[in-house]
């Protein structure tokens, strides 16, 4: 039944359903929540964009990338360098080239520059990474993340090196986050439902059969790779203009772990990335409050910097042992609502319950 719809219509309906839910969440928090809640919500939306960005590649190709935080860093620095006040730049990075020193752009053009740089880098290195799968891809992309980190930490003339680059205008508002989220959500769903995305998703089950059916696996992966790098860069730019000061260390192992976890715990769909981000954000926040809130005898948990991450990591291992295919598997929200509707009106819809059996047969898919 779902297949009879046009692919772009399916993508738009799916995006609309998710957008309504996220908008309700945002509206509720904006009206009822404290300023802390709103800060958490903004960070949640930025993480959401980062997770969807990564999911564009991982969700369709089945290949994990530990390198997308590198693209986030490029987006963040690209946007920050072109928007920061020239007077601040004259002090912080006096040796930078003139076109950076003098520029004081608006948010959108600067963000687009950051996104463009990330997309260009992705396009250059992408040809290598799309040929790698599984563990080899994980290691190589991790190497790329470290490459970006090394370059940013040492290019002192441009980035102030390992020191924080501060004075970035605080452009990131809830409106910007929601706008960027909506655009990227629609792009992600369109890419996923398109012929390219469909072919690629079939290749994650059986690459050889997909190729035999005419799917150009390598080139499809390449398209997704560049698009997902660009979307990750948007998240990086939003992050930079939210925090106001960035340093290369912020785009390293920990953030990589966080984003990758959101994607894997959630499942293989865009909905999965959203569910994963929601779960991790709630868990991290709950743990943080717990950490501040109590102490065990003389062992005060507020002085335990690694505890949140440790517990989070253990919870993730636990979740994956229980549900290896991720929380929602490969289903999108609109698949699930369509199934729910079909269940309610089995008589009205002759071909009910299309994938009930499928799921039992193939739990790992």
């Amino acid at each position: 039944m779902a297949m009879s719809q046009k692919w772009w219509l399916r993508a738009l309906i799916g995006s609309a359903q998710i957008l309504v839910l996220v908008s309700l969440l945002v509206a509720a928090v904006s009206l009822l929540g404290s300023s802390t809640d709103q800060r958490i919500l903004t960070v949640f939306l930025i993480n959401l964009i980062a997770a969807i960005g990564l999911q564009i590649y991982t969700g369709t190709s089945g290949i994990i990338s530990f390198g997308h935080v590198g693209f986030m860093a490029l987006g963040a620095y690209g946007s920050a360098l072109f928007t920061a006040d020239p007077a601040i730049k004259a002090m912080g990075i006096p040796n930078a080239p003139d076109f950076i020193l003098t520029s004081a752009m608006g948010f959108l053009p600067a963000m687009l520059i950051g996104v463009g740089v990330a997309a260009m880098v992705a396009a250059v290195i992408g040809r290598v990474f799309v040929r790698l799968g599984g563990s080899a891809a994980a290691v190589a992309t991790l190497g790329f993340m470290v490459m970006v980190f090394t370059v940013l930490s040492n290019a002192e003339e441009w980035t102030r090196g390992a020191k924080a680059f501060s004075g970035i205008p605080a452009y990131t508002t809830m409106g910007w986050c929601m706008g960027a989220f909506a655009v990227i959500l629609v792009i992600a769903r369109l890419l996923r439902e398109s012929d390219t995305g469909l072919g690629l998703r079939s290749s994650r089950d059986d690459a050889i059969a997909a190729q035999a059916s005419g799917v150009d696996v390598v080139n499809s992966r390449y398209v997704m790779w560049v698009a997902s790098a660009a979307c990750s860069a948007v998240a990086g730019a939003l992050y930079a203009h939210y925090i106001g000061a960035i340093l290369p260390k912020a785009f390293h192992f920990e953030l990589t772990f966080l984003v990758v976890t959101m994607v894997i715990v959630g499942g293989q769909s865009i909905t999965g990335a959203i569910v994963g981000t929601l779960l991790i954000t709630i868990l991290a926040e709950a743990l943080r409050r717990l950490e501040n809130g109590f102490s065990l005898g003389s062992f005060s948990l507020s002085e335990a910097p690694g505890l949140t991450t440790a517990v989070l990591a253990l919870l993730i291992v636990f979740t994956l042992t229980m549900r290896p295919q991720g929380l929602v598997g490969r289903w999108e929200l609109d698949d699930l609502t369509a199934r729910w509707l079909a269940k309610r009106r089995p008589a009205a819809n002759g071909t009910a319950l299309p994938f009930e059996k499928d799921r039992e047969r193939n739990p790992a898919a």
């Binding site: 089945g62 994990i64 530990f66 290195i125 040809r127 290598v128 040929r131 790698l132 799968g133 599984g134 563990s135 080899a136 994980a138 290691v139 190589a140 991790l142 190497g143 790329f144 470290v146 490459m147 970006v148 090394t150 370059v151 930490s153 040492n154 290749s203 690459a207 050889i208 190729q211 696996v217 390598v218 192992f253 920990e254 772990f257 990758v260 976890t261 894997i264 335990a304 910097p305 690694g306 505890l307 949140t308 991450t309 440790a310 990591a313 253990l314 993730i316 291992v317 994956l320 042992t321 290896p324 295919q325 790992a364």
Partner: protein, 297 residues
């Protein structure tokens, strides 16, 4: 000429460390298809053990043994607590689990030891050296190279000449058939993790002898280098891991020698860049290992 020879010795010594790390990674990968990112944390465990025992005034030889034992025990615990339940999970889940285990261990180190570097009190002989003409050679480098050579040789003999070695090799080739031949799966996996832990421990001794302080994230860099070495050589093959390790070290030392001073901070980025270019032509590694399920296309 002396400078060249000096650099050559540096490269071989560094390559030995990388090769040991890569071997430890490759043994587990070849059998379980598990990229154990927590391998670096095994090295950190050995590092902290070395720090604690040397601080307590234990003789260096016993401290070294304790460090190796600690990382073997840590490896076995990881296998039992984290990886055993997931043995039949898909490769991506395994990958993320090992990543999560690595992050969890780093956080635990941070919790127990703090973020400050712990200086390891190395025995004096580590700095000792001798001269051949203009060339100053550190005993440590000679020691690292000789021990690594012995380890690679004995590992080779162990895998080729003993029944356990045969079981490990056949499990790497086809785990299911090996089990049908009556080999206990747990025995093979535990054996692989013991070997891997021991190699991590020995590599950690050499690594911390050259970088004598340990922080919670100490293991990350050698782990990443070891993995890149494996990928360059061909993931899953032991000889490829050794060759990859030495190749990576020669790339690193060679680039450092050629590059001007202004570029040398970018060394890691440049070396990884070259590695990525190599992968462009040989996606399966230099030895073009047989494309397994998760590597084809």
């Amino acid at each position: 000429m002396e400078l060249m020879l000096q650099q050559f010795i540096n490269a071989v010594s560094l390559g030995s460390i990388y090769a040991l790390v890569a071997l430890g990674v490759a043994i587990v990968f070849s059998i379980l298809r598990l990229a154990n990112f927590a391998h670096g944390e095994l090295m950190t465990v050995a590092g902290y053990t070395l720090y604690a025992t040397l601080l307590a005034g234990v003789h260096w030889f016993l401290a070294a043994l304790a460090a190796i034992a600690a990382s073997v025990i840590a490896a076995l615990l990881l296998e039992r607590l984290a990886y055993r339940r997931l043995r039949s999970a898909n490769p991506l889940t395994l990958l993320i689990t090992s990543f999560a285990v690595s992050v969890a261990l780093q956080s635990l180190f941070l919790l127990f030891f703090g973020a400050r570097p712990k200086g390891i009190e190395l025995p004096a002989f580590v700095d000792a050296g001798f001269r051949i003409g203009q060339l100053r050679v550190q005993w440590l480098d000679v020691f690292i190279i000789v021990i690594t050579g012995l380890i690679v040789l004995s590992l080779h003999l162990f895998l080729k000449k003993t029944v356990i070695g045969l079981a490990l090799r056949s499990a790497a080739d086809d785990f299911r058939t090996t089990r049908l031949m009556g080999i206990k799966a747990n025995a093979v996996v535990v054996g692989a993790f013991m070997l891997s832990g021991a190699l991590a421990g020995i590599a950690a001794l050499f690594y911390f002898a050259t970088v004598p302080n340990v922080v919670p994230s100490s293991g990350f860099e050698p782990m990443l280098k070891g993995f890149i070495a494996c990928v360059i050589g061909g993931l899953g093959s032991l000889p490829a891991a050794v060759v990859g390790g030495f190749l990576l070290a020669f790339l690193e030392v060679g680039s450092d020698a050629i590059l001007s001073n202004s570029l040398s901070p970018y060394l890691d980025a440049i070396v990884f860049g070259i590695a990525i270019i190599l992968l462009r032509w040989r996606p399966g590694g230099l030895f073009g290992v047989r494309m397994t399920e998760d590597l084809r296309v």
